[in-house]
Symmetry: C2
Subunit: 398 residues, 2 copies
Amino acid sequence: MIEGVCPFDLGLRQPGEWASHANCWIGWPERPDNWRLGAAPAQRAVAQVVAAIAELEPVTVVCSASAFIQACALLVDHPSSPGQCAQYPVRVVELSTDDCWLRDTGAVFVCGAEPENAAQGAGVHFDFNAWGGAQGNCYAACSLDQLVAKKMLLLERLPRFWCPMVLEGGSISVDGEGTALTTAECLLNPNRNPTYSQNDIEKQLRAYLGITKVIWLPYGIEGDVDTSGHVDNMAVFIAPAKVALHWDPADHRCQAAHRVLAQSVDALGRSLEVVLVPAPPALYRQPDEVPQVQPHQPHPEHADTSEPGASDSDSYQRRAGERLAASYVNFYRANGGIIMPGFGLPESDEAARAALQKALPQIQVVQVPVAREILLGGGNIHCLTQQQPVISEPIPWR
Amino acid sequence: MIEGVCPFDLGLRQPGEWASHANCWIGWPERPDNWRLGAAPAQRAVAQVVAAIAELEPVTVVCSASAFIQACALLVDHPSSPGQCAQYPVRVVELSTDDCWLRDTGAVFVCGAEPENAAQGAGVHFDFNAWGGAQGNCYAACSLDQLVAKKMLLLERLPRFWCPMVLEGGSISVDGEGTALTTAECLLNPNRNPTYSQNDIEKQLRAYLGITKVIWLPYGIEGDVDTSGHVDNMAVFIAPAKVALHWDPADHRCQAAHRVLAQSVDALGRSLEVVLVPAPPALYRQPDEVPQVQPHQPHPEHADTSEPGASDSDSYQRRAGERLAASYVNFYRANGGIIMPGFGLPESDEAARAALQKALPQIQVVQVPVAREILLGGGNIHCLTQQQPVISEPIPWR
């Protein structure tokens, strides 16, 4: 761990998601109290995501010791599995989580901002409270999630900056040139950092991620209660000065985001081009999808601890009829391509795909049609993943 | 996984332990039914081994999710821990084991035997039955140990050869030029591969490790019942045609080994130089060391499975007065040095250290004086470790 100095002091900042990746980290859904039917349908969907990403870059899927054999069976062992067929290696690594959302629990990587230090890098480990701490988090016991970033960085032998601010990677989207998008609904929510002012948060984003300009959208999308409105369902940078916006013209949240984006300039003073990505129709949890979720049982790794909430029924109860946080902008930007959700809605899926493909004609836009299974767990492809940029010179940490 | 071809077919073989290492893998003692006082004294001893090795090469310590925080506290987090002070990075990686003996459960690495393929490499994953299967193994439930080699190779993105023969890495010692030492007591024991003849075993060693000549010692050392007489307590190659022998002139096992070594030639027809390493005096388990070992409890990762024996008291019962398998030749050969056990016996420890230092004057010989704590668990420094040679070209496996 690096102490006494921040990434910004060393000329590091979070690159845009389009910067060249060495690896994509993905979590493996396991919690039967969040994923229906013991997570089996979600696992099959994630295997399709892995297959699509592995056509473009190496993938690391992390799972618990209990799930290892089964994850390997779906991902690397069978001749038709992604790891056997794909262009890049897929590895399955034992690394336990409370849930699989590595976007939010994983390390956020930072790299040299200037040509002379572009190969340098490290990871930032933010505090994590399961999306809300005592005020409505998704589960009370999150000590495994709190270690994910540390485990990733130890495994990669990369230096680690610890930041005491609660921050999930999905609550920001950066351009790699000093600008971040976020939402006030999430980052100013008292359930994350109740003692921090907006200015305190901006200071930490500057110190740890090299963000010199924050563009504050008011809200995340309708239905995204799990995350208190993460920006990665609403609006994400797809290039410098170019933002993909989840767009339902009748939705006041989208309208508000559009107004802010239209009026904003980035850290370098540029106006933003806004690419409208048509939102899917409103999607709801179906009655038959609810009883397939099991009552909470403590994770084996929590069972013998005294962690508060570890043995209580501490996870969100999923209800029939509730709005799902469905968004096409929750995609992963891999090397040379975008892997985006499809919800099995031919017209809507194609309209969103076409909008992104038109905005980025030089890269592949690939849709994984079974993303509803991932959505039922509360997030989507971007939430599952965390890109690791190419870092050939870990910054010295001793 | 690579199927349909063996390492020997591709010109690969297991290098000598002195070949340049990229990494040393070490297991973390955790089982309270094998390690006294909840394994705390053994963990402190292993931290000293890690510190010594990390002066010479990078180290990876593997542990369960339950042990991760505590292992990090001893190994990487504190300013005085090995990972902070050592010359090379120490990483702690979540990788669950039934017990910590990576020499026997980990991948055995193979590399190109000829100059033109010297940078190539892969790993071999042997079957494992906890040192004896139905006939007196150390514990019945060993499904985690059976996955260790696979997890190591996935983590390193190295190709994997699966070999259906039961073999522990500590049952052989190789010269990297086609010769292996082993014991008939272990490798011909019907508790490993009851359907294999001696010829079958030699064929598999040739196919998977490139061994063209096996030198069969009759026995391992007195007291080494856990392993059925692993050679790495009795005699190990320290250079081509040079063997370090555990030496008690009054012990018929040592005499027998000496006779065989004196009469043998290696795969290249060379006679062997035998370096006598004076054995420690007979060491016994003390009465106060026994009650500190707890009754068996199932591993959390086994608790919810139907694995045979998983919930039974299935581990060896340690008894006061039993002979300990104490040997100074159970050392680890790191880059440029040897990390060897010391038992807190000034005369005996120094005699063994001096014998090895004299035999290998060009490298450091470092003694870790607290190795009795490791010995109480059934093995020693060599048993805990597995070297990973430098492999810059993983052999193609698709």
